[in-house]
Amino acid sequence: MAYSGPSVFGAFDMVVWQLLALAVAAMALPVAVPWLGFVITVAIGKGLAALGVAMLLRGGLISIGHALYVAVGAYATAFLMLSVGMNELFLLLVCTTAITMASGLVIGAFMARYRAIFFAMLNLAISMVFFTLLSKLYNLTGGSDGMRVATPTVLGVTLDRTKFDLVLQFSAVALMVVVALLIDRYLKSPLGEALTAIHANEVRLEYLGVSARGVILAVYTISAALAGLGGAITAVAIGHVVPELSYWTASGQLVLIAVLGGISGVPGAFIGAFFFELVRTFAADFVPDAWNAIVGVALLIVIFFLPQGLYGLLQRVKMRKARL
C-alpha cells in the first residue's frame, strides 16, 4: 500500500523560505535605519541561544540557566583574544562554539539525569555559580567591570569598526540561516523526534531500546553550543563582556524569547529575538521606564492568544490559506 504522507521536502522548503525572508528583513532593516544593524546582530546572538532553549523545551525541559553558555561563549572569546592571541573572527567563532559544546557535554552528563523543576533549578544554580565566579575573580575576569573584546580581523584583514560591524552583521545573518537549517534537519531526524517523544512518553522510548539520557545529552550539548555561538557574536558585537551575561534575568529572557517566538519551528526563536530586541530598542527610546511592561504585555498576549508563539501565527495563516 502506498502512503502519501506530508512531504518532508515541502516542509523543508517552507523553512528555507521563512529563514530567507528573515535574512532579507535582517539585512534590509539596517539599510533604512543604519543603527539597527547592531540591534539585528545582537538579536541573532540571542536568537541562537533562544533556539537552544526552544530545543530543550520540545523535550519538556525548561532551562532557566542557559545564559551560562552565552557567558561561557562570550568570556571564551575574550580569553582567546587576550590570552591566546587568537584574533581571527571566524576562528574565534569556531573555537568558542567548540569550547561551549565541550562544557555543555560535561555539565549535560550531569543534567541529563534530571527532569522538570530539578532540571530547571540545577541549570539556574550552575549559571548563578558561574556569575558569582565571574564577578568575584577580579584578577582573572575583571570582576563586575568585565573584559574588553577588541575588534578581530576578518580573514586576516583588519577592518575599521564600521566595516567590521557590517561584516559581522552579514556573517551573523548567514550563520543564522545555515545553523537554523542544520537544526531543522536535526529536529526532523529520528534523534530530534526522539526528543519530542521523551516529552510524551519516556518509558516507551526506553522500551524501543533508546537511551533517553543519551537523547537529552545530545540536545543539551547542541543547545549549549548554540548559546556559546550566540555569546561569541554578542561579545564581538558589543566589544565588552560582563558577568551579567550569565545572570538569571538573562536566562529568563532566553526562555521568554523562545516562548514568544514559538518552539514548533526553528525560525520561531529568531522571530522572537527580533521582536524582543526591536520592541526593547524602540520602547526604550519612546517610553524608557516602561519597556519591560510592553514586553510583558506582549508575552501575555502571546500566551493567551498565540500559545504556539509568533511562529504559530505564521503557521495558522498558512493553514487557513491552504483550506481556502
Binding site: R185, E193, R204, E206, A218
Partner: protein, 247 residues
C-alpha cells in the same frame, strides 16, 4: 530444543507481598503462552522482571542462552525482547505512522542526526507493519484520541517494528469490547505466527486463553502453580478455584 527464555529461582517482594517467589520456567521458540492468575499474583511483575523495569532480589533471567538479569529495559529490548503494555504506551504527539517509524528507526540506530524520520526506508518498513496489523488506512491519523482497540494494536505494532524474537503482551484485550476482542486477537496472533515471534501474554479472559494459547501458566502468590495445554489447565478445579473463584 533450547528454550528462548529461561527463568530460574526468581524472587522479588514488595513489602510483605511476594510478587515472585522462586519462579522457574522455560519458554520455547514459537510458543504462544498465556499467563493467568488472580489480581496481584505477580503476572505483570514477571513481565517487568523479564524486561528490566524492576530488578529481582534473587534469581536469573536467561534469554537465548545469555543472562539479561539486572539489565536496563533498553539493553534487553536491543537483545530482542519487545513489550506491549496493559495501558498502551504511545507517543501521543506523533501520528500513528510516526510512532511506528520511530520504532523502525530505533531498531536501525537512532543516532542519525540528518536522515529525516520520514525517510523512505523507515516509511516503507513502518507501512509493512501497519498493513500487517490492519492499521494502514489510518496510518497518518493522530494517536491521541484513538479507540482502545486501535491503541492496543498500535502499541503492539510499535513493539513488532522492533523485529523482536520474544514479545511480551500485558492484557492485550483489556479495555476492548467483547465484540472486538476476537478480531483483535485474530489480527495479533495471525501476525505473530506469520512473523514466527514467540509470545507470552497475560490474560484474564479465559475464552481468549482457550482459543489462542498453546500453553497456559497459572500464577498465584508469585509462584507458577500449574502449567500445560489450555484444555487441560482450564478444566482443573484447583486452577478454576484459584483464578476465577469457582469451586
Amino acid at each position: 530444543m533450547n528454550p528462548i527464555l529461561s527463568v530460574r529461582d526468581l524472587h522479588i517482594s514488595f513489602g510483605g507481598v511476594k510478587a515472585a517467589d522462586g519462579v522457574d520456567l522455560d519458554i520455547y521458540p514459537h510458543e504462544f503462552i498465556a499467563i493467568i492468575g488472580p489480581n496481584g499474583s505477580g503476572k505483570t511483575t514477571f513481565l517487568n522482571l523479564c524486561t528490566g523495569y524492576i530488578r529481582p532480589t534473587r534469581g536469573s533471567v536467561i534469554f537465548e542462552g545469555r543472562s539479561i538479569t539486572n539489565q536496563a529495559p533498553r539493553t534487553i529490548t536491543r537483545r530482542g525482547i519487545a513489550r506491549a503494555f496493559q495501558i498502551p504506551q504511545l507517543f501521543t504527539g506523533h501520528s500513528l505512522i510516526e510512532n511506528v517509524m520511530l520504532s523502525v528507526a530505533a531498531q536501525h540506530g537512532i543516532w542519525q542526526a540528518f536522515r529525516p524520520l520520514a525517510h523512505e526506508a523507515y516509511r516503507k518498513k513502518a507501512c509493512e507493519v501497519l498493513d500487517l496489523m490492519s492499521l494502514g488506512d489510518i496510518a497518518h491519523g493522530p494517536t491521541a484520541n484513538m479507540p482502545e482497540g486501535l491503541r492496543k494494536l498500535t502499541d503492539i505494532a510499535i513493539a513488532l517494528a522492533l523485529k523482536p524474537r520474544l514479545l511480551l503482551l500485558d492484557e492485550p484485550t483489556s479495555g476492548v469490547s467483547t465484540a472486538e476482542k476476537f478480531a483483535l486477537m485474530d489480527t495479533i496472533v495471525g501476525v505473530l505466527r506469520a512473523e514466527k515471534v514467540t509470545a507470552l501474554f497475560v490474560e484474564h479472559d479465559m475464552d481468549v486463553v482457550e482459543r489462542y494459547a498453546d500453553r497456559v501458566l497459572v500464577w498465584d502468590a508469585g509462584q507458577v502453580i500449574a502449567g500445560g495445554p489450555p484444555q487441560e489447565i482450564l478444566c482443573s478445579s484447583h486452577v478454576l478455584e484459584r483464578v476465577i473463584g469457582i469451586s
